[in-house]
Amino acid sequence: MRLHSIAVSNLRRRKARAAFLIAGLLIGVGTVVTLLSLTQSMTGQAKANLQSYGANIVVTPQSRDVALSYGGIAAGGVSVGARALRAADVARIETIPARDALSVVAPKLVGPVHVKGHRVLLMGVRPADEFRLKRWWSVDTGRPPANGHELVAGAAAAETLHLQMGDYVRIAGRRFTVTGILRPTGAQDDDLLVADLGAVQDVLNKPGQITLVEIAVSYAQAPVHDVVTQLSAALPDAKVAAMQEAVESRMHAVDEFRRFSYAIIGVVVAIEILVVFLTMMGSVSERTHEIGVFRAIGFRRVHITWLIVVEAVIAGVIAGIVGYMAGMATTYAVLPLLSRDADVAWIPLLGVVAVGLAVVIGAVASLYPALHAGKLDPTEALRAL
């Protein structure tokens, strides 16, 4: 028999008390496991969503704007050295070393046209890429353009031109069918007519030309700034800019969610320590007489202290294992209610963390009760009933 044998016997034969202690640890650990795995799963999904939610790099023609003025009077300005982007430039974008980090590459050509006596902006895009990039675009009824004779209209443009789904418009002699009206976005997209890139290049008589390229980068694959550097090297005649605010604000939301989870975890751990502390103090109080016997037969204070702490540690190991399984089961049950797309992030290390956390909490929370037990006067303890 050794000291830990006494602890094991106590837990084994006083099942109700052991169950209470283990439950106190298990609930806390299970909650922490659930929160951590939910956080990991939802953060991963949020990142994946945000990465393709809008561009974080813009490629435009390299130009220098020169302001013309004389005698303090501004006479306008002119762009110097602008060379339009071309399809070959778009192809070069997809050859950079970090090409796997490019979630969406959306080239577009923008130019003014006359429709029904009104001057509107016509934007040529690769519809599939553009709608992936701009997830906030949605077509109320209808669908995105599927070929070079179809277009969708922004909400304001449709109102101005009195367009409805199924209508025909003629732009520079080319007939387009309106296949859908975009929901209002509150941005300049509302004023656009959106059609296939190739068709718009024909209409605007700018074969192969691109006004700008919007790119969405996956943060998990490569830092945005590295991608910007590589793109700049691949396109020396273009201006490559990271949309810092867009990047930082999106990740800020993700980080805030993670910090909130950690704060909740901190509160849960603090409560769990308190619960275990109170349970162990109650246990020591109940076992005052027994502790007196141990002291009377020659146990030192440190033996008594060790006995109490070992008991809590053993309970912690059990609670950690069961708490981990319960926490993951809860994650599987709860995650679908919180997110349609997220998958459960299975983190093997989390099992080790769960057991470690339960053991540490058990040891820390039982330390004062254990020290208190060791200091009990054996004569007084033996008198206690």
């Binding site: 028999m1 050794r2 000291l3 044998s5 006494i6 016997s9 106590n10 084994r12 034969r13 006083r14 007489h289 027994e290 016997v293 141990f294 002291r295 009377a296 037969i297 020659g298 146990f299 030192r300 204070r301 440190v302 033996h303 060790w306 054996p378 004569t379 033996l382």
Partner: protein, 269 residues
Amino acid sequence: MSAPVSTQDIESPAAVDGGAEVVAPSTSVPPGDDRALRFIDARGLEKTFSGDGAPVHALRGLDLAVPEGAFLGVMGQSGSGKSTFLSILGGLSHPTGGSITVDGIDLYGLPGERLADFRREYLGFVFQSFNLVPYLTALENVTLPLAVKKMPGVEKRRRAQAVLERVGLAGRAGHLPGKLSGGEQERVAIARALVNEPPLILADEPTGALDSETTVEIMDLFARLHREGNTIVMVTHNPEIQRYFDRAIVLRDGRLDCELPACAPGTAV
């Protein structure tokens, strides 16, 4: 039976002094045979309990010498100081005056936790209400004093089983205390007191909760232990077991009143 207590045998989770003797024989003890005659030597022992009311003088200058191998009965009415004397002798309660030595060891001169070591190595305590640990089997209860000793588990188990056999309970080793009779629990308590082979056995009213037939069985067991050479000090208020003692003293008001059979007629025990 006067080997110094060694900390090398202690299994402790914390570092303890290795190899140092816990105690050294008192230099004030007279040499030669006198030490055996004064195996337990109480001089001017006093114990006062201070509470909310007036202080209670449980012992008022008790002088007592007990030779090695004696079977001493300590008798007296409630409040006479019997249990207080036993708890002081057992290293559980510091006296407020006087001194007490066991085999030349000044109990309350021992520093810190050495007193706990002394209790473990020198004493076997049989408590009034058995005080068995309810969630440990009979065998585990008996092995309890060995739990903090550096000894192979097989050896611990062997010693505990041998002692249980010695008290006639080999067949009940796997039972929890709740499944044992009063007499059987008492035997387990005695076995637990013996497992460390202590030089001194202290028993506080060991037959107080037993019927007369079981009382005889238990006292026969103690008598056998005495014949085997153990020094036993037993506190009791049961005059019927007086015949087992080779010496019986009566305490009154915290002092040694008389020694049986030379007590005044009508002396309450």
